[in-house]
């Protein structure tokens, strides 16, 4: 299996406080990895550090993407290599209309604007990005932008948070379409895009499946296992008594 993302002994600060304290993680081509962990454990910081946002600063270790060291690369260099991110709480981009950004990322003739109704976003193309959007609208906007971007590796930070029950099916389906070739009828779907997904509820796993799950605590990956098993343990015992940690040591 080809390694898509390889993180080695990653230490990173946010606001001059060390958040990541030696993260090691490998995700292979076509693999979906899930990241569990209590609030404040460093999950979102890890995703921001992989994307290269300046809110975090790497102090030690390295991030390799398709074998290339991207630790010092700018955000756009990483995006151009094929990394995309769906943020949990993206900033308001005043003055920039969603349609203009879609055209800038995928080209005016890409047909992405015509796809907007499939994301229920046709009325938002002339709106400033994220300004006044509801939780579900933000997620649908992020997914439409990622569809325009066509990344090979997607960071998904709590894709189901703040989404009502009516929208969760649409969000889940669109995330699935990003990751898979075909629609999965008759077992024909092939996952071609890798991802690292943060989820608290596990709802998104009903749509995308996952190959491996990791639990993050205190800025480190504490343990890993099958996603369904880990989620069950966490739901039953919480993070303080993670049964998986007793049996599956990294």
């Amino acid at each position: 299996m080809t390694e898509m993302l390889k993180i080695v002994n990653l230490h990173a600060e946010a606001g001059e406080r060390e958040i990541l304290r030696g993260v090691d993680l490998t995700i292979n081509e076509g693999e979906t990895a899930v990241l569990f962990g209590p609030n404040g454990s460093g999950k979102s910081t890890l995703l921001s550090t992989i994307m290269g946002y300046s809110t975090t600063k790497v102090t030690e270790g390295e991030i390799l993407f398709k074998g290339e060291d991207i630790t010092e690369m700018t955000v756009d260099q990483r995006a151009k290599l094929g990394i995309g991110m769906m943020m949990q709480r993206p900033p308001n981009i005043y003055g920039v209309r969603l349609g203009d950004l879609l055209n800038a990322t995928s080209g005016k003739n890409s047909g992405i604007i015509d796809d907007a109704p499939k994301f229920k976003m046709e009325r938002f193309l002339d709106r400033e990005i994220n300004v006044g959007f509801s939780g579900g609208e933000i997620k649908r906007s992020e997914l439409l932008q990622l569809t325009a971007q066509k990344p090979e590796f997607i960071l998904l930070d709590e894709p189901e948070s703040g989404v009502d029950l009516e929208n969760i099916d649409l969000i889940g389906s669109k995330v699935r379409e990003l990751l898979y070739d075909g629609h999965g009828c008759g077992g024909s779907a092939q996952r071609h895009v890798s991802s690292l997904v943060i989820t608290h509820t596990g709802q998104i796993l009903d749509y995308i499946g996952a190959d491996r799950a990791y639990v993050m605590k205190n800025g480190r990956i504490q343990c890993s296992g099958r996603p369904a098993d880990l989620l069950k343990d966490i739901k039953e015992h919480g993070y303080g008594e993670c049964a998986a940690c007793q049996t599956i040591k990294l």
Binding site: Y53, D76, L101, E128
Partner: protein, 400 residues
């Protein structure tokens, strides 16, 4: 009307805001410039097009052009209810105009209005007769063509009851006339149930000093919108147009400006909400590229049911200049709803990086945010203005 002696005394009166200009430093621009028959075959075409004045005049109701202090072109499609004339010609045709003008603007306001009054300056006269809707915009152009000269113009715009008009005004200097002074006194009179959209695009020389003086007196249930754009380097601009609103009327001011290194831009506006239920919105979007910026706005609520909002936002892209936002609200009755917002600073890093995470490089991301920041304040910009805005942003290399 003040007597001439009183106006002469005002020749020493400095403007309320902005750097004082020594009027003696400039020669008077000519009153008899070359007459331009065909705008498309004119050496001035490129200057006009740069400020949104189209030389083929397609989709325009007419064009009036002044070079220095004299009219050099005037064309109007036959359109009932519209008059496009030089002010001097209008004074010949309308006997009462002499007493009518200089009511909105006090000639003793400052040295710039006083000098324009005493010079008996020419300018354009636009009139929409009652009940007429002029579909295509009228364009006016003011060009300074003589170095070390002063251009002084007096414009009168009248939109009578139930009339509507859109004006696009482009002002510029020829390349060889950069060290110059522009004073444009504009008086606007709007009746009841009238509409006027007045867009000004300026592109001056690096040493040009600009002192427009505009006052708009508006009747009942009318709508006035004033758009002002200056994106290229200029010596100094000080502009503070005033609007007086009658009952149920509205005024919208949109200002977009970039202060380059060496430029000093002091812009804004005052709206007096005099009538019951009058509404106003003053929006300012400015960018400092190392120049001096002052964004002023003043709303005065004088009647019940007034609603008004003022917003000054400035982005600082380069150090070396200064940026000041001065929003003012003043109310004289209890039943008013008046608000303001002001923000000065750099573009938030998280916004730039968000766009970069979609694959745009940093320059592209900054440019996209700046373009949106500037044009986002105006809904339904005239196409010419939008094109000029886009071109100027490209040239400004805002990603530095």
């Amino acid at each position: 009307m003040p007597d001439n002696q009183t106006v002469k005394e005002a020749l020493n009166k400095k403007g309320a805001f902005g750097e004082d200009i020594d009027l003696e430093r400039y020669e008077d621009g000519t009153n008899a410039p070359e007459f331009v028959e065909d705008l498309q075959d004119s050496e001035y075409q490129r200057y006009m097009e740069n400020v949104g004045v189209v030389s083929d005049e397609i989709n325009r109701s007419g064009t009036i052009m002044f070079i220095d202090n004299g009219m050099s072109h005037c064309s109007a499609k036959v359109q009932e209810g519209l008059e496009i004339l030089s002010l001097k010609e209008a004074l010949k045709q309308h006997e009462g105009l002499k007493d009518f003008m200089w009511n909105a603007m006090d000639p003793t306001k400052d040295k710039y209005t006083a000098k324009t009054y005493l010079d008996d300056a020419d300018g354009y006269f636009l009139r929409v007769k009652a009940g007429h809707h002029i579909k295509a915009p009228v364009q006016t152009c003011m060009l300074i063509n003589s170095n070390k000269s002063a251009q002084r113009l007096h414009n009168v715009i009248i939109v009578e009851d139930g009339g509507s008009l859109e004006i696009i005004t482009g002002c510029s200097t020829a390349n060889h006339a950069g060290d110059s002074l522009h004073v444009g006194v504009s008086e606007i009179y709007m009746g009841d149930n009238a509409n006027l959209s007045f867009s000004m695009i300026h592109s001056w020389g690096k040493q040009t000093n600009v002192r427009p003086r505009t006052r708009c007196v508006i009747g009942k249930n009318s709508n006035y919108s004033n758009n002002y754009v200056i994106l290229n380097p200029v010596g100094s601009i000080q502009s503070f147009p005033v609007a007086d609103l009658g009952a149920g009327s509205s005024a919208t001011y949109n200002t977009m400006c970039i202060a380059h290194e060496g430029s000093d831009i002091d812009s804004g506006g005052l709206v007096n909400l005099n009538g019951v239920g009058a509404r106003a919105e003053i929006m300012s979007r400015s960018i400092s590229m190392g120049g001096k910026l002052c964004a002023r706005g003043r709303l005065v609520g004088n009647s019940p049911g007034v609603k008004a909002h003022l917003e000054c936002r400035s982005i600082i892209l380069k150090d070396g200049g200064s940026t000041v936002a001065i929003p003012e609200l003043e109310a004289h009755v209890a039943d008013v709803e008046m608000t303001h917002e002001a923000a000065v600073g750099k573009i938030a890093r998280d916004q730039i990086e968000y766009l970069m995470s979609r694959g745009l490089d940093e320059d592209q991301a900054v440019s996209m945010i700046v373009r949106g920041f500037l044009s986002g304040s105006i809904n339904g910009l005239p196409e010419a203005l939008q094109k000029e805005l886009d071109a100027a942003i490209e040239q400004a290399n805002l990603g530095d």
